[in-house]
């Protein structure tokens, strides 16, 4: 394992301190907790709290700030945070208008955030939850845990965050977050695995020329392996899975995220984005906004995911609204 770290035990703590050191105008640490909140303290709008395991940086601490999150809770690497941490975040950011929890759909995340919500509600704080499940790689079935939440979560942070900033009530912010979740789909592929610092070795291995399709963002295996294809073939496959799941027609408007998993050169992300834009053009689908970069990573994994969100006037306006966070300024 080759990593620029000190001790695997301290990696989350040091990372959070490093974020605060870099962006003191945006975020501060909630003393004693693995939680980042806005530097200027609670606002008098609906607050958004998200989080999850660490290793997805800049998610989620990098999106704390004006127009996005109010608090981000960092678990151990790839491990959802414990309820007490989430509970403290909720208490810290609530300005009286209530708190929306943005949860990625993993058994652990859902359970830990739910327990935290129960604790906060017992204190009289209004708490609502949304569960993001944008990953089309895995079949959705009522008999299973349902789909995973991956990079499409960023659109929830951005759009629901803008709604809250615009003065939306807790119900309204939750409603728009649900609308994002209904309209966003993602799928990813990996060229290489990643190594959890405390584990010290890669969580899977791939042969030279072999890739993992539809894997999650925690080093979990995907739906299958195959031989590396061209960028265009890969993008076509990922987009096809997305189109199979959400109906998009000519003149529809979307936003796109080509998300690097941590170890992917920016050059490759742009090569992939070219194909995404070509396919959309062929279909007559308009792209209102494109994000290309490392937004929801899996440590040093090489590979990428594509997220597509279908926009209406409200979603578009909120997506294009101002954001001022460590990792997204627009």
């Amino acid at each position: 394992m080759k990593k620029i770290i000190n001790d695997p035990k301290n990696v989350v703590d040091e990372m959070l301190k490093g974020i605060v050191a870099a962006h003191p105008n945006h975020v501060k640490r909630l003393e004693g907790f693995e939680v980042l909140v806005r530097a200027q303290g609670p606002t008098d709008k609906v607050a958004l709290v998200s989080g999850g395991g660490s290793g997805h940086e800049p998610s989620h601490g990098g999106f704390v700030g004006k127009g996005m999150l109010d608090g981000a809770v960092a678990g151990a690497v790839f491990t959802s945070p414990t309820p007490d941490q989430v509970y403290e975040a909720v208490k810290a950011v609530d300005g009286g208008k209530g708190v929306l929890l943005v949860i990625k759909n993993y058994t652990g995340d859902v359970m830990n955030f739910e327990i935290a919500a129960e604790m906060a509600e017992a204190d009289g704080i209004k708490v609502e939850k949304v569960v993001v499940n944008d990953d089309v790689a895995v079949e959705d079935s009522t008999w299973t845990t349902g789909r995973r939440g991956i990079a499409g979560t960023l659109f929830v942070h951005k759009i629901a965050g803008a709604k809250a900033e615009a003065g939306g009530s807790l119900d309204e912010v939750k409603a728009v977050a649900e609308k994002v979740i209904t309209n966003v789909r993602s799928m990813g592929m990996a060229l290489s695995p990643c190594t959890v610092p405390a584990a010290g070795k890669p969580s899977f291995t791939l042969a030279e020329n072999e890739v993992e399709i539809g894997m999650g963002i925690h080093g979990e295996p995907g739906t299958h392996r195959e031989t590396l294809k061209t960028a265009n073939e890969i993008v076509d496959h990922l987009l096809q899975k997305i189109f199979d799941d959400i109906s998009l027609a000519a003149d529809d408007e979307v936003a796109v995220m080509v998300n690097g998993l941590g170890g992917t050169p920016t050059m490759e992300l742009y090569v992939a984005n070219l194909r995404v834009s070509e396919v959309m053009k062929e279909k007559g689908i308009k792209i209102a906004k494109t994000y290309v970069g490392n937004y929801m990573t899996s440590l040093e994994m090489a590979g990428f995911s594509i997220s597509v969100i279908k926009l209406d006037a409200e979603l578009k306006e909120l997506l294009l609204a101002e954001a001022n966070t460590p990792a997204l300024v627009q």
Binding site: P83, T107, A137, T144, A199, T223
Partner: protein, 206 residues
């Protein structure tokens, strides 16, 4: 050697610590390679909170569960946390247990896990070791076996449960995303439960 609750908790912590890499490896095959790390982080915190003074089984298991809940995270944190707390609630003020009481506690633990995680038998989770173990305990109680005899039957049943998890597809937890690819691998949570049960049994028997 006199057997104490603290001694048993120490034994559990040692098992989890020595099996950390193994449990993580199992989770790597079908999950996110952290189950051992998670459990070990939890028991490292647990061990700092106990001394020989802790003799009330009910209060102790509640404290143990709360500690797991606030240090483990992931899926196993809330599940084991709830399980130990619910088991503790059945043993308020007790310093020793009959086999029957142990069975009631395990049943409560299972109920807690199902309340939180909504899983049933056969979804390739820790329940697939816990439920057979509970059935074995129930039968042992009926047969009038000793505590150690009963626990040994439960261990055997839990181990069969692990074998069973190899044959099925996961439909709950992170491994469920793998579909058929999860077949052939044993469930990490079923394994950690069985390791803890075996440790407790050996500790009482020694």
């Amino acid at each position: 050697m006199s057997k104490t609750l603290f001694g048993m908790i120490q034994a559990l912590q040692e098992t989890i610590s020595s099996q950390e890499a193994f449990l993580t490896e199992l989770d790597g095959a079908i999950g996110d390679a952290d189950h051992g790390i998670n459990m070990n982080r939890g028991f490292e915190a647990v061990i700092t909170k106990f001394t020989e003074e802790d003799t009330d089984i009910g209060a102790s298991l509640k404290k143990l569960g709360m500690t797991l809940l606030s240090t483990v995270g992931g899926a196993s944190g809330p599940l084991y946390g709830t399980a130990f707390m619910r088991a503790g609630a059945e043993a308020q003020g007790k310093e020793t247990l009959t086999l029957e009481e142990a069975e009631v506690m395990l049943a409560a633990a299972i109920k807690g896990i199902q309340d939180r995680g909504k899983a049933v038998k056969g979804e390739k989770t820790m329940l697939d070791a816990m439920m057979p173990a509970q059935d074995a305990l129930k039968q042992a109680v009926a047969e009038g076996l000793s505590v150690v005899e009963g626990l040994e039957k439960a261990c055997a049943a839990a181990n069969e449960g692990i074998e069973f998890t190899k044959t099925i597809r996961a439909t709950k937890g992170r491994a469920s995303y793998l579909g058929d690819r999860s077949i052939g691998h044993q469930d990490p949570g079923a394994t950690s439960f069985t390791l803890m049960l075996e440790t407790a049994t050996k500790y009482l028997k020694a």
